[in-house]
Every structure is written in C-alpha cells, then in structure tokens.
Amino acid sequence: MDRNSHYFVRSVILLGFGLFIIKLLISGDIHKFIAPRMMTYMYFALSVIAVLGMIQFFRSGTEDEQSCDCGHTHDLSISKGRSLFVYSLFIIPIISGMMFSDHVLGSSQALNKGFKYELRSSSPSEEYDKPESSSSEDGKASEESDALLEDPAILSVSDRYPELQKEFQESTSFTLTEDNYIGSISLLEDQVDDYVGKEVKMNGFVFREDGFPEDRMVVGRFGISCCVADGGIYGLLVQGDSQNLSEFKNDAWVEVTGIVKKVEHNNWELPLIEPTSIKKIEIPAEPYVYEEFEFSG
C-alpha cells in the first residue's frame, strides 16, 4: 500500500470510531461501558478523533509527504499482510461494538468477580483487623495511624451518606433507587441493627453462589466506578419460604419487597431480606449503578 491509501484507510477507521461513539451516545448504551463521570473524557476523545480523522483524510490527498526527519518510525512501509492485521485490530472493536453494545453483564460475571459477602464470610482476615502490635517500636508513623484509627468516624459509611441515613432511620420503609443504591447497601452492611424490621423495596438481577440453599439468592446490580471492567457487585441476600424463589432463574431481573433481617454467618452480621413479594421486571435502561465521589473532597 502506498502512503496515501494508508492515510485514507486511517481516516476511515477514525471515522468509524467516531461513529461508534456517536452511536453509543445516541442510544445511551455508553453507560453500559463507561461511568457518567467519565463522559467529559468521551466528548474530548470524540472531538479529537474527528479532528485527526479530517487531518488524515486531507493528508491522503496531498501529493507528497513533506520530509519530516523526526526520528520516529512512520509505520507505513510494511507488508500488506501485516497492515491488514494491524488495521483489523482497529476495525474489530468498532464493528463488534456497534453490533453488541446493548449487552449487560450478568450472573456469570457476578460469580466470577465474587459476591462481597462470600469473600468476607469465607475467611475473615485477622490480619486486617489486628491491633497495632508494633506500635511501640516506631514512634511517629504509628502514632499518626493510631490517631486515625481512634477516630474512625471521620469517614464512616454513615458520615458519607448522612442524609440517606437520616431518612432511612426515620422511616419504616424505603426504596432503593439508582441514585441511592450503593449508599443504601453500604449503610445496611455497616449497621444492620438499625434497619432490622424495616421494609425495603429494591430491584436487581438474580444470582446464586455455589452451595446456596434452595431458598436463598442474591439480588444485586453491578456498581461501576470508571468502566465496566472495574465493576463490583452490590446486592442483598434474599431468603424465605413464603415465595418460591426457584422460579426466578439466574440473570432474571426482579423487584423485591421485603423485611430486613439479620443473619449471622461465620461471625459476620449480614443484612437479609425476607421477601413479601417478588415480581419479574424488564431490564432497566441503565442496568448499572455508579460510584459517586466528588473530587472536590
């Protein structure tokens, strides 16, 4: 391939990336890949790609390349087979992205990443909570960390979601929405006792860990901080005889209403919902929930 047709193919590939991002923006599927707070970067990328694409396009029309002796290898003078390979690397994500952008991660990935409870309950690490055994040996640094440990309230879960906590403690029933999902579950995990007996309504997809009894499952959603690759599961155990839980298969989206209870499992106190009603629902338009943290501090 000569120089100019390389530039032309490259400009088409950049256009393809642009189209891919635009398609994601139009359909809203972008949030199935990237958290909303990363959107500024996506707009930046889209505009840069547009500019670069145009530049490559007009460059392909020029007669000769101005000699630019800048010590980097323009990767152009390579064999046909190799450039086919390189360009297909760029073309594949564009095509697969535009075709399967609405796919949502489900129970198999949840199982893969591991439900937090399972991780915590399987072997509560003693090292993590061990007291400062070596504090006498070292003065300054451990004093500092001691001081931090003495006042854990600086950044406790309830301090992070003060309004949510107030609202939940005052009311007898509450609903988990997209916006308070992560906060609510963190609060529930933090201090189950405060919420036992209250009524909760939540939605999510169903999944089960290996070895769960028949009448137990988890209803949860993926929480994303930057992109889907860093997603983790936020969910609550659902257990009870009143409903036939086995009719809800893994990956089914459900809305659960039930009473918060507390279970003790390997010395961990976990919240659990005893369902009063479960019904199947459609997958919400935004199936993931997003970590919120402000950079302003």
Binding site: M1, D2, N4, S5, F8, V9, R10, V12, L14, G16, K23, S27, F33, I34, M38, Y41, M42, A45, V48, I49, L52, I55, C68, D69, C70, G71, H72, H74, V86, P93, I94, I95, M98, M99, F100, H103, S108, Q109, N112, K116, L119, S123, P124, S125, Y128, S134, E137, S142, L148, P152, S156, R160, S225, C226, C227, V228, A229, D230, E291, G297
Partner: protein, 330 residues
Amino acid sequence: MYQENTSNYKWGYILLFLFFLIFIYGDLFPSTLITDISPAILDMNTIFLSIVLEAIPFVLLGVFVSALIQTFVKEETLARFIPSQPILALLPAVTIGAIFPVCECAIVPIVRRLIQKGMPLHVGIVILVSAPILNPIVFLSTFYAFQTDLTVAWARMGIALIVSLIIGGIVYSRFGNSWQLKEEKGHITHSPHTYRNRLSETFHHASDEFFDMGKFLIIGALLASVIQTFMARDLLTDVGSGFLAGPAVMMGLAYFLSLCSEADAFVASSFKGLFSTSSILAFLVYGPMTDLKNTILMAAYFRKRFVLSFIIIVTIVVYTVTLLFDLFYL
C-alpha cells in the same frame, strides 16, 4: 501506479460503507447467534470495549502531549532542568511525576518522547512509574474507596514514592545511560518550521502515534478482557492470603486485570476482608507501575530485554517494600 492507488482506495471505501451499514443496522444482528456458542463471549466483548473506550481519551491525551514535546521542546531546554548528577536527577523526576496528572496509558508515549529528547533513562523510568500513582486524582479515589482506613491512601502514596526512587536507582546502576529505545538514537535534526507548519506537524505526529500505539492498546485490552472473563477471582484467592503469599497474589491480580489507576482502588476495596492491608497496598502500587496492557505498550517502544528487566525490577522492589512496610508499620 495509478492502478495500485485506486485498488487500495477501494478497500477504504468498502470499509466506509461497512461502517455506515453497521452504524444503522448493527443492532438488528441477533446476538443469540453468539450466545448460543458461548455466552461468555459477549461478556468479554463488553469488558474489552469498556477498557478500550476508557483508555482512548487518555491515550489521545498522552499522544498529544508527546507530539507537543516532540515539536516544541528543545533538547537543550530539557537538559538544563535535569541535574547532571544522576542521583540528584531523581528528585525533579518524582516532582514531575507528582505534578503530571497522567494515568498509565498516557505516560508511556510521553516518557518515550522525553527519553528520545535526551532525558536520562532512569529519570524517564521514575516518571513512568510515579506519575500514574502520585497524583491528586488517584489519591482522592483511594481516599474514597477506603473510607474507614485512611492509612491506605497515605501509605499508597508513600510507598509509591519510595519504590519509584529505588527503581530509578536500580535502573541507573544496571543500565546507566545506555540507549534502550527501539529506534536509533540521534538523527533528530529539525529544520526551522513556521508556526503553522509546526501545528500541523503536531497533529500529524499525534495521529501517527495514535495508530502506532493504538494497536498495542487493543491487544492489551483484549488479553486483559479474556483473563477477566474466564479467570474466576477465587482461583487467585485460593492460592493464599498469608504474609508472603498475599502480596504476591494481589500483585499477580493487579498485573492481569490491567485496571486504570484511577479505578483500581474501588476494586481493591472489595478485597478488604480477605487480604491484609499490605497485600492491598501491593496491588495498588504495583498495578499502575506495570501491568499486562502496559507491558505491551512498553514493548512497542523499548527493547524487549529492557522491558523484561524493568518488570522484574518493579516486581522485586514493590514486593520487598510492601513486606518491609508490613513488618514495621502495620
């Protein structure tokens, strides 16, 4: 000649047509055809695309900064700011690393360009390993992810600082000022350009480099997504979480997951109960310094032998320093 030209343009037009076709009708393709073969393929595709999409803005940013350095920074200017005493030179390097809020995808082309412009190798490497961790955004995300345990955020920064200085020292003692980039040293002779020329040159450099680097990013993201999809995390956590095994396991995880340094703290916090604080710190320090995706990016610019020694040095230093930290402070 003319014949050749048109036949190659033809492929461009076919591609263009294909893109528009899929842009409009892509959703109609029944995804059940794929899920019937293996449902995990779509999971993999989603993770792969999300890594690519998340990295693209930062790669573009890195490519642009690199192109700007290429066009506007003179070798002499760079030399003036870096002390000739090699150990002393580490200090401005760490400072630059701390000031530049660049994540690990963006830093590779920038460092390569700086080294090409005459920056000593070890100084460049210190910037490469420190910039993705020592920056305010990463500090804040770690701070938020470990709400109840502020030590993690502070220790992450402290360990990263010490580790990068040690890595710089080792790289200097082993490689001195030898040339470790793939391309030849020297022939950077710029004829004086006009301003307009320089601007278009910057864009040309940037787009060439985007394609040079993009392919490695895509290969890296593909490998990382395969591992994320098919490797259950229990597999690693089963290996062990003891004093010696814990940090090693978490470093392995950090390497293969290839997460962005701004997001890895949230993943790390989900391992809070299972692994010791030092293991989590090993994960948080090691991941941004080197991972699967970055190894492939680095291999694009640096000699293979150097990349290999770099990984070995980083692995040993991070492992040792976190263990020492565990012994003395935790």
